[in-house]
Each structure stands twice: as C-alpha cells, then as structure tokens.
C-alpha cells in the first residue's frame, strides 16, 4: 500500500483551515493507517518545535525612514555593506525570475538555444497555466527559430539551471527594443502586427468580445556575436576546462528578429492579483475563495482567456550553422546529461522548437489543432492549460483556466 506523502500531510497541517483538503481516498486511508497517523503526529511535533524556535517577533520598523535611506543611497551612488566594503549583490541563485513573462529578451537570449523571446506567444502560454504563482511555471519558456513543430522536453528546474548563460560566450547587442503597448481595437492591433487577427468563434460564458483587451508585444531585434576569447576568459574565471570554440562559431553573429505579436485577453486581466491568480467571477455559484490568498482551487469558476498570435520570429546566423552552434553549446561543461541528450535528439534545430516542460508541475502532449500538430500543456492539477501551434508562418497560443477539451475547442474555433 502506498502511504500518504509527507509533503501532502505537512501542507494539510498548515492549510486545512484555509480550505485545503485531502481527497476522499486519502482521508479514508489516513483514518485507518497507523503509519500515516504516526507520520502526521511526527510532522506536527517537529513543526511545533521549530515554530517555537522561530517565533521571535520582529521589532517595529519605520518604513518611511527606510525608503528615505534607500533614496539617499541611490543618490549617493555608493554601494556599501555594513563593514564598508563595496558590495555587489548577486542575484538569487534561482534563475527562474529571469524567465518570467515580462522578462527582457536579453535574459531569454542568454539561454543559448533560445535566442528569441516570443513574447506574445510566451505570454499566452504563461497566462494559460497562470494561477499558481508566476515563478512556478517560468520554466515554460518558448523559444523559436522558425518553428514548424513543437517538441516537448520534460525538464526539472535543476536541469534548466545547468544551461550556460550566453553572456559568457560573446557579446549581445540590442538593435531595437521590444515594446509592450495596449491598443484600443482588434483592427488597430491587426494593422500594427501585420496579421489577420483571429478570434474565437465561441467564447466561454461570462466573456464577451467587446471586453477584450488587445496588447501588442515584441517588435525587437538583437544580435549576439560569439567570441572564443570571451569564452576562454569565462572558463578561466570559473576554473573550468572547456572545449575550444570552433573556428566557424567564433565571430558568428546570430541575429534575432521578433515580430510584433498580438495578445488578446478576454476577462479582466486586472483581476490577476499579486500572486497571479484570477479572481472568481461573481454570482456564478462557483466555490468562493478562502480570502485574498485562497488556494488554487478557488479558481474554479474564474474566467480568463488569452489568445496570442505572432508571425514566427526568425534567427539567422552569419557564419556557423545552427546545428554547429547547438553542438558547441551542448558540449559545454555542467549541463545536465539528460538535457543534453534530449536537446541533441532534435534533428533539425531550425524548425523544431523545444519547449521545456517542468516535469512535476505540468504535462504535455501533441495534439491536433486547426489541422496541424500542436502542443498541449496542462497544469498537473488540471485547472489550467494552453495549446500552441504554428500555421502558415504564424504562431498561435491559447490558454486559460480551462480543461484540455475546452481549451482545444476554443483554439479550434479561432477564425
């Protein structure tokens, strides 16, 4: 018999009073399993012990004064720690924040084989499963060359972190910045993006087309030039031995162009509160949230749909082929071997778009949508999903707090 997982029991201890409940089956198991009851008691005792130790109340602080102190420091332009040395605050070891929806293209370009940020597509797919805090599915980054197919690569966050930062291999140059801009109408969006804007023929109840918000995203261009000298310098700084950069890769320039795309949001995006959860619709008879930080289950009944479309971004290389670049970068030390194998198996990097799927939180599988093969990505608790596909050089993504059959229906109804 499989017993209840410690993590589940521990969460239940903390969140039962806030509406988190065990499934019927789990409750039944717990009721008659001495082992699990024992685990629960242990967890509770340890939590109580630790709670008592970590209980010192924080003395009062003056936030207004603190802000003034920060402003002063910024004005002075100095950076000092309390013992007077110049401090360079390193960013947190978790790199997930760099992969957020609104992250700059530079951050995405650093992930070597993801040189372009398809912001609109990214945004839609991100929003699609976005009711748990944003950090948890920042892994769902999309990267395009000029995709014809989508390949799901299951990854763990640990594996993702082993991918080297492009910054250590050459120089990035911004040619044109991407922008995000809301426009008043579908017509305006279509014109600005140079697309025929598709819209779902049928919207889920509670959403209407005239509530839609149209946002333009993208329109940027950047270049990255490989430098063997820089790679050698980076390796020396890290104390690493690395394979030398092939002569064909050295001085090659990748140019990334991100066309302007359109993201259409139905439902009120301002209902996304700070933790990224949409507020439930009113008077729906759906379960109400348990307060401002209600658990994800409170989203049942919430209504939010994102549709993104963008001409496929392009990446060109002045020297080495994309295959040569891929091979070189995959040979760098430290990348998780399983990831190397999955990525290495992509036979045509110019047309196959690998989409990293965080293994524990999401599942994905190919689906037929609009007559082509696309990729479905769903949250493992089944509360949100998205689908992405490419047709006639345009990448589409649809997502929201929907089940798979619903999101596919909406996607197939785009016209």
């Amino acid at each position: 018999m499989t017993h209840l997982d410690d993590g589940l029991l521990r969460r239940w201890l903390d969140e039962a009073s806030r509406g988190f409940s065990l499934s019927q089956a789990d409750q039944a198991h717990l009721a008659q399993c001495a082992h699990c009851q024992g685990r629960l008691a242990d967890l509770q005792a340890t939590a109580a012990f630790v709670g008592a130790a970590l209980t010192a109340p924080v003395p009062p602080i003056d936030t207004t004064l603190a802000l003034a102190r920060l402003r002063q420091r910024e004005a002075d332009g100095r950076r000092k720690t309390e013992d007077g040395r110049s401090s360079v605050l390193r960013p947190p070891s978790s790199v997930v924040f760099e992969r957020m929806l609104t992250v700059t293209q530079q951050s995405l370009m650093r992930r070597w084989w993801k040189p372009a940020s398809v912001v609109a597509v990214l945004a839609a797919l991100m929003l699609a499963v976005m009711y748990t805090p944003l950090g948890s599915y920042a892994q769902g980054i999309l990267n395009l060359f000029t995709p014809k197919q989508f390949v799901a690569i299951p990854v763990t966050p640990q594996q993702m972190r082993t991918i080297p930062d492009l910054d250590g291999y050459g120089e990035m140059r911004n040619i044109q910045e991407s922008t995000t801009r809301q426009v008043a109408s579908a017509a305006e969006a279509a014109q600005a993006a140079g697309l025929t804007l598709l819209q779902p023929a049928s919207l889920p109840s509670g959403l209407t087309a005239n509530q839609a918000v149209y946002t333009l995203m993208g329109g940027g261009q950047a270049e990255f030039t490989f430098s063997a000298a820089r790679a050698a310098q980076t390796a020396a700084q890290r104390g690493q031995t690395v394979p030398p950069m092939p002569a064909t890769v050295d001085h090659s320039t990748l140019k990334v162009t991100i066309p302007t795309g359109v993201m259409t949001i139905y439902g009120d995006p301002s209902l996304l509160n700070q933790s990224g959860k949409a507020a439930p619709r009113q008077a729906e008879g759906a379960r109400q949230p348990q307060g401002p930080r209600g658990p994800a289950a409170s989203l049942v009944g919430s209504s939010f749909l994102a549709v993104a479309q963008m001409k496929a971004p392009t990446v060109t290389s002045s020297g080495a082929t994309l295959e040569e670049i891929k091979t070189y970068l995959l040979s760098q030390p430290g990348i998780d071997p399983q990831l190397v194998a999955s990525l290495g198996a992509i036979t045509d990097p110019t047309s196959m778009l690998p989409i990293p799927i965080p293994v524990n939180e999401y599942n994905s599988h190919p689906v037929q949508v609009q007559g082509v093969q696309g990729l479905f990505v769903g949250d493992s608790s089944g509360l949100g999903s998205g689908v992405i596909w490419q047709k006639n050089g345009i990448v589409y993504a649809v997502g929201g707090a929907f089940r798979e059959d619903e999101v596919l229906r909406i996607a197939n109804s785009l016209q």
Partner: protein, 183 residues
C-alpha cells in the same frame, strides 16, 4: 546592457518611482522579517532589506509581476549569506576573547531578559546558517509569515513541493538545535 526591454508606454502609465515606492511600502517589512528570522538583529535585517531593494530597483521593473517573489527569495539568500559571514567572524573573534560571547543588546526593557532573548535568537540563527541553503530558505520564507503560495513563488516551485521541502527542513533544524543543546 539592456536588450529588448519591454516598456509599457500607455498614455496613463503611472510614474515608475511612485510604483517603486508602493512596492517598497508593500514589501519592506516582509523582507525585513525574512532576514530577521535568521539574523535576529533588526539593524542587520534592515541592512539586508536595503541591499535587496537597492539591487531590485537597479535591475527590474517596479511593476513586474514577479517582484514580490524576487524580493522574498533575495532576502532569504542574502540574509543566509550574511549569517554565515557573521558566524565566521564570530568564531574568529572568539579566539581573542577567551570564549566569552558578547551580545549586542539594543532593546529596551529588562536587560537580563533582553540578553537571554538575543542569545537565543543568535543560537537559532547560527543553527539555521549551518543548514544547507535550501533548507534554511524554505524555513525563513515560511516562518516569516508567507503563505504556501508565496513560498512556492519565491522558490520557483509548484505549490505541491512546498510541504515536502518544509517538512525536511524542519526535521533538519530540529536535529541541529537538539544537537546543540546536548553539547
């Protein structure tokens, strides 16, 4: 070098400095609380909070959706490192002070109780700093008042992972603290 920075350019965009001030007002005390949980010293905790907001302001948009999660994680990371540095310094200094511990007491009230409380915070903080960073982080985040959802966001994991990490970290801290008291 910023490449392709997304700029919100609506006509009625609020002043970014005002947005940052709102972020600061909303999150400063939470960030201090995270740092205080391991440092036990309000001045040190505020120093960490200042560093964290300073870094955030330099590199990120004030209205980014990940702002709170970033700040929380950075607070835990920075405070953890500060606690380790402090522990090293204290071990060095102790050698010169014939083993006595000097506790800085800045709170008002009964000095004896204050010294004991400060000593206890120091001991707990030192135990936390001996844990691997992953354990210390989840404890600092959760025991500074963040919800499971907020802890998940800061850690960059799904909410279902939080319970497991927390229970393992609590077991490790308990072991560390009971090992201490049996010396």
């Amino acid at each position: 070098m910023a490449v392709g920075v997304n700029k919100l350019s609506r006509a009625d965009t609020a002043d970014p400095e005002r947005i940052f001030a709102q972020l600061f007002a909303a999150q400063y005390s939470q960030v201090v609380a995270i740092a205080y949980r391991i440092l036990g010293d309000i001045q040190a905790a505020e120093d960490v909070a200042q560093d964290v907001f300073y870094a955030y302001h330099r590199q990120h948009a004030p209205d980014a959706p990940y702002a709170a999660a970033w700040l929380h994680k950075a607070a835990a990371h920075t405070a953890y490192n500060a606690a380790i540095s402090r522990a090293r310094r204290e071990r060095r200094d102790q050698a010169d002070l014939d083993g006595r511990r000097w506790t800085q007491v800045t709170e008002a009230g009964d000095p004896q109780a204050a010294v004991e409380a400060a000593e206890q915070r120091r001991a707990v903080g030192e135990a936390l700093s001996r844990l691997p960073e992953q354990h210390a982080t989840v404890l600092l985040l959760r025991y500074s008042g963040l919800s499971y959802a907020e802890v998940a966001a800061a850690l960059g994991v799904g909410i279902n992972q939080v319970g497991a990490r927390l229970s393992r970290a609590e077991a490790a801290l308990r072991k560390e603290l009971t090992r201490d008291s049996s010396r």
